[in-house]
C-alpha cells in the first residue's frame, strides 16, 4: 500500500497545487477560456464563410454586445455575494427601457433617463425591503416583484404614448468612436472600476462579502445586516436600469421581451466568474470575463445557426456544470 506511493503523492500534490492556483485566481483560467473561445469561433467562421472572426471589429463588437449583460451581471454579482439572487434584473431593465423611450418625447431626455434610473433603484429598494426587513426569501421576493413589474409594464405598453429613443441613448447603445471603441464602454468601464475597487477597498465592499459569509458574525461585529442588504438590492436595481437604457439604445425601440433573454445569462456570468452561489467570495472581475465568454459563445452559436432554444439549454447546462464544479472544489478541503 505504501510502496511507490510517494511518487503518486507528489503528482497528486502538484495537481492539487495547480487546482488551488486556479481556484484562487479564476481570472487566469477565465481569460484563457475567453481567448480560446475566440480562436475556436475564428476557425469555425473561416470554415463556414471563409471570413476571419479574430478581427479588431469583432473584438469591439463583442465588448459592445457584452456591456448590457455585464451591467446586469454587476448587480447580480453584488446580490449573489450576499448569498441571494435577483430574478427581477431583466424586468427592471425592461422597465427602464420603456420609461426611457416613453417619456423622452414629452419630458426631455435628461428627465427620462433620471426617471428610468430612479425607477430601477426604486424596484431594487422594494426587493431590498422584502429581503432585508421582512426576511422574504430572495428567490421568492425578486420573482414576485418581477411578475408585478412585468404586469404593470404590459398595461403601460397598451396605453397611448409617443415612443422615441433619444439620439444620445441610441449612440450610447450602438455606436463606436475611434472606429473601434464602443460608446457603451464609457458607461460600463467607470461602473466596473467603481465596483471592483469598491468591493476591495471600501468598508461597504467588505461588508457585502462579510454578510454573505456569516450574517451572525456580522451582527456581532456591529454590522446592521439589513442596511447592507437594502443598499445592495437597490444598487442592483439601478445597474439593471443602466443595462436597460443601453439595450433600448441598441435596439432603437422598447418591447416587453427586450431584456428577458439576459436573465439566466446574468446569473451564468456571475457563476462562471467564480462568485460563490452561497455568497461570501468572488468578485466583479470574474463576472466581466463571464459576460465576455457568454457573448463570444453566443456569436459562435449564431454562426453555427443554433436555435434560441438550444442556446437556452446550453446556458442552463453551463450553470449546472459550474455549480457542480465549484461545489466539488470547495468541499475537497
Amino acid at each position: 500500500m505504501t510502496a511507490g506511493s510517494p511518487q503518486v503523492a507528489t503528482q497528486t500534490a502538484r495537481l492539487r497545487a495547480a487546482q488551488r492556483i486556479l481556484s484562487d485566481n479564476p481570472a487566469i483560467a477565465l481569460t484563457f477560456i475567453f481567448v480560446a473561445l475566440f480562436v475556436v469561433t475564428d476557425i469555425v467562421n473561416r470554415a463556414q464563410s471563409g471570413k476571419a472572426f479574430l478581427t479588431p471589429t469583432q473584438v469591439s463588437t463583442t465588448f459592445l454586445y457584452a456591456a448590457p449583460l455585464a451591467l446586469l451581471g454587476a448587480g447580480q454579482t453584488l446580490v449573489m455575494l450576499t448569498g441571494g439572487v435577483d430574478l427581477s434584473v431583466a424586468t427592471t431593465a425592461t422597465t427602464a427601457a420603456f420609461v426611457t423611450s416613453g417619456t423622452a418625447h414629452d419630458h426631455g431626455t435628461g428627465a427620462a433617463l433620471l426617471l428610468a434610473l430612479g425607477l430601477g433603484f426604486g424596484i431594487g429598494l422594494v426587493n431590498g425591503i422584502g429581503v432585508a426587513i421582512f426576511r422574504v426569501n430572495p428567490l421568492i421576493m425578486t420573482l414576485g416583484i418581477s411578475s408585478v413589474t412585468l404586469g404593470a409594464l404590459t398595461i403601460y405598453s397598451q396605453t397611448r404614448f409617443v415612443a422615441l429613443v433619444p439620439n444620445i441613448v441610441n449612440t450610447l447603445g450602438s455606436s463606436r468612436f475611434f472606429k473601434y471603441v464602443p460608446y457603451d464602454l464609457l458607461v460600463w468601464a467607470p461602473i466596473a472600476a467603481l465596483i471592483i475597487l469598491g468591493l476591495r477597498h471600501s468598508g461597504f465592499g467588505r461588508m457585502i462579502f462579510a454578510v454573505g459569509d456569516n450574517p451572525v458574525a456580522c451582527r456581532l461585529a456591529g454590522v446592521r445586516v439589513w442596511q447592507v442588504l437594502l443598499l445592495v438590492y437597490a444598487l442592483c436595481g439601478a445597474f439593471s436600469a443602466v443595462a436597460g437604457i443601453l439595450l433600448v439604445g441598441f435596439n432603437d425601440a422598447a418591447d416587453l421581451g427586450i431584456a428577458a433573454p439576459f436573465l439566466l445569462p446574468s446569473v451564468a456570468a456571475v457563476v462562471i466568474g467564480g462568485t460563490s452561489i452561497l455568497g461570501g467570495s468572488g468578485g466583479y472581475g470574474g463576472t466581466i470575463l463571464g459576460a465576455l465568454i457568454l457573448t463570444v459563445l453566443d456569436s459562435l452559436l449564431t454562426i453555427l445557426n443554433a436555435a434560441p432554444a438550444v442556446k437556452q439549454m446550453l446556458y442552463g447546462a453551463i450553470i449546472l456544470a459550474l455549480a457542480w464544479l465549484y461545489a466539488r472544489t470547495s468541499s475537497s478541503d
Binding site: 500500500m1 505504501t2 461597504f204 478541503d333
Partner: protein
C-alpha cells in the same frame, strides 16, 4: 495488548501540513491522552482515524489487522466512535430526529443519558439545546454504538465541572470493561487524574509518549512546547504572576465604567453589580444559571426585560450589538463560529468591526489597517501561515482572531465568554497575561469561564451566579475551586445563617 496502532500517518492541504508523520499506540483497557499545542495536528489525527478525512500516507492497524477507514460509518462498524469539538447536529431537527439521522436507536441513547443522569427533552429542537448538553448527547450517541475505542476531542472544553465529572465516569467505565478511550484535552489536571498514558504531538509529529501520573505537568508542557520554549515560558509565567500580584493592589483606583442594577432577562432574575476600569470581574456559574443571558444583554444581542445598565454614568439600552459596541462593550462569544467570517482572510476578520457602518463612505486606509491588524496579531501571537481563509486556521488560532478583532478596533469593556475554550496551555497563559495587560491599560473585563481553576489566575473579583441571582462574591485570590463550587450551588448563604 495493542488495540490501535497508527504509524507515520500524514496529511497535507496543498502547502499547509496538517499532520507530518504521527505514531500512536493505544492499548486495550487504556485511557490515552492525545496532547499538543493548537495546530499540532490533534484534530486532524482523530478525523483520519475516524474516516472523516483520508490520510495521505502511513498505516493504521486495529488489533493487528491493517485497516483503511474510508468513512465515519465504516469507522463506527469497526468499533471507533468519535465525539468532535463541534457537535454535528442539524439545529432545526429535534434531538430524536438528529439521533435517527445517524442510524443509532433513540432508546439506546436515551438509556445512556439516563445512566449519565442527564434529563433531555428529545422533542426539543437541537438548536435550542445548550452547547454543553449537546456534547453530552453526542457522547451518549457515541456510547450507544458500544465502541472499542471512544475518541473524545476536547469534549470537556465547554463543560461545567459537574458534567465533566460524568465524562470521567464514562472513561472509568470503558477502562473497567477492557475498552479504550483516546482523550484530547488542554486541561493537564484532567490528564494527570484520568489518563494512563499520553502521546504528545508537536508540529504534526509525535514527540513522546509518557505516563502523566509519575512525572506530571512540567514534562508534558516541555514536550508540547519544545524544550527551549518551555524554559522561556516558565520564566515568563513567573514574571507575569509576580506582576499580577503587584497589580492587584493598585487596581482599586478606577472609576465605575459598567453599572448593572436589577437586570432581568430570560433566566436572569435581578442582578446588580458594577465593574471598574482596570478590573477583571469573574462570573462563575454552573450551566444555565443565566450567564448566557447576562452576556447577551450586555452585548446588545438581546433586550433587557427589566432593570438598568449604564456605561460611565450614562444609561445604556442597546437594541443591536452596534449600540453596545459604540458604548465600548464588545463580546468574545463562546462559539467562535458565531464570530468569524470563515471564507475571508485573517486581516479582513480582524478589521471587520472597524467597517460596520453603511454610512462610512470612502476607501479604507490600508496603512492604518495593516498597522492595527499587525499589532493585534502580534499581541496574540496568531499563527498566520494559513491566513488567506480563516477556516483553514487551527481552532486555537481562530479563537485568537475573535479576540484580536477588538484589539484592532478598540473598546472599553471586554465581555469574555469562555475565551480559553479549546486553547492549549501556552496560549492560555498568553491570554491571561493579555487580559491583565488590557486591564492595566484601563479596560474593564467581564470574564466567564467553565474552567474554575482560571478564576484565581485571571480575576480580581469573582461573582457567582445561581438560579439567575448573584449568590456570592469572592476576592480573586480566594476563589479556589471549593469555595467557588459552594457558592455556585447557592450554598454560601445557608452556611452563613
Amino acid at each position: 495488548m495493542s488495540l490501535l496502532e497508527a504509524r507515520e500517518v500524514g496529511k497535507r492541504y496543498g502547502p499547509v501540513v496538517a499532520l507530518e508523520s504521527a505514531n500512536l499506540s493505544v492499548d486495550a483497557g487504556e485511557v490515552h491522552a492525545l496532547l499538543g499545542a493548537n495546530g499540532a495536528g490533534k484534530s486532524t489525527f482523530v478525523k483520519i482515524l475516524t474516516g472523516v478525512i483520508q490520510r495521505d500516507g502511513g498505516s493504521v492497524e486495529l488489533r493487528g489487522e491493517p485497516v483503511r477507514v474510508s468513512s465515519p460509518s465504516q469507522a463506527a462498524r469497526i468499533g471507533l466512535a468519535p465525539v468532535f469539538q463541534d457537535p454535528a447536529l442539524v439545529p432545526d431537527l429535534t434531538v430524536a430526529q438528529n439521533i435517527r439521522l445517524t442510524g443509532v436507536a433513540v432508546e439506546k441513547v436515551q438509556q445512556r443519558l439516563r445512566e449519565l443522569d442527564i434529563d433531555i427533552d428529545f422533542t426539543e429542537q437541537a438548536g435550542d439545546v445548550p452547547l454543553p448538553l449537546l456534547r453530552m448527547i453526542d457522547l451518549a450517541r457515541a456510547m450507544a454504538r458500544d465502541p472499542q475505542l471512544l475518541l473524545l476531542d476536547e469534549i470537556t472544553a465547554a463543560l461545567p465541572s459537574d458534567l465533566a465529572e460524568r465524562v470521567f465516569a464514562v472513561m472509568e467505565e470503558w477502562r473497567r470493561r477492557g475498552r479504550s478511550v483516546l482523550f484530547i484535552t488542554h486541561r493537564l489536571a484532567e490528564v494527570i487524574a484520568m489518563c494512563d498514558r499520553a502521546t504528545v504531538l508537536r508540529d504534526g509529529r509525535d514527540v513522546g509518549t509518557l505516563v502523566p501520573r509519575g512525572g506530571g505537568e512540567r514534562q508534558i508542557v516541555e514536550h508540547m512546547l519544545g524544550p527551549e520554549a518551555a524554559k522561556a515560558e516558565a520564566r515568563a509565567a513567573e514574571v507575569d504572576e509576580k506582576a499580577a500580584a503587584e497589580d492587584r493592589g493598585a487596581a482599586d483606583a478606577g472609576a465605575t465604567t459598567l453599572g448593572v442594577s436589577d437586570l432581568r432577562v430570560g433566566s436572569l432574575a435581578g442582578v446588580s453589580f458594577s465593574l471598574r476600569g482596570g478590573e477583571i470581574l469573574g462570573i462563575a456559574a454552573l450551566e444555565g444559571q443565566g450567564q448566557d443571558d447576562l452576556f447577551a444583554v450586555l452585548a446588545g444581542e438581546r433586550r433587557a426585560e427589566g432593570g438598568e445598565m449604564s456605561v460611565a454614568g450614562k444609561a445604556l439600552r442597546p437594541r443591536h450589538p452596534y449600540d453596545a459596541i459604540r458604548s465600548g462593550l464588545v463580546l468574545v462569544p463562546a462559539d467562535r463560529l458565531l464570530a468569524l467570517l470563515p471564507q475571508r482572510s485573517v486581516r479582513e476578520n480582524i478589521a471587520a468591526p472597524r467597517y460596520n457602518r453603511v454610512t462610512r463612505w470612502g476607501p479604507i486606509n490600508p496603512r492604518e489597517e495593516r498597522r492595527r491588524v499587525a499589532k493585534a496579531i502580534e499581541a496574540l501571537q496568531i499563527d498566520t501561515r494559513a491566513q488567506r481563509q480563516v477556516r483553514r486556521l487551527s481552532g486555537g488560532n481562530q479563537q485568537k482572531v475573535t479576540i484580536a478583532r477588538w484589539l484592532a478596533s478598540g473598546f472599553q469593556t471586554l465581555l469574555c465568554f469562555d475565551p480559553t475554550r479549546g486553547i492549549d496551555v501556552g496560549t492560555k497563559r498568553q491570554i491571561y497575561a493579555l487580559l491583565r495587560r488590557l486591564a492595566d491599560d484601563g479596560a474593564a473585563i467581564l470574564f466567564f469561564s467553565s474552567e474554575l481553576s482560571e478564576f484565581p489566575l485571571v480575576c480580581d473579583r469573582v461573582l457567582t451566579l445561581f438560579g439567575g441571582r448573584i449568590t456570592g462574591e469572592l476576592a480573586g485570590e480566594g476563589a479556589d475551586e471549593a469555595s467557588l463550587l459552594r457558592a455556585m450551588h447557592g450554598l454560601v448563604e445557608e452556611v452563613a445563617v
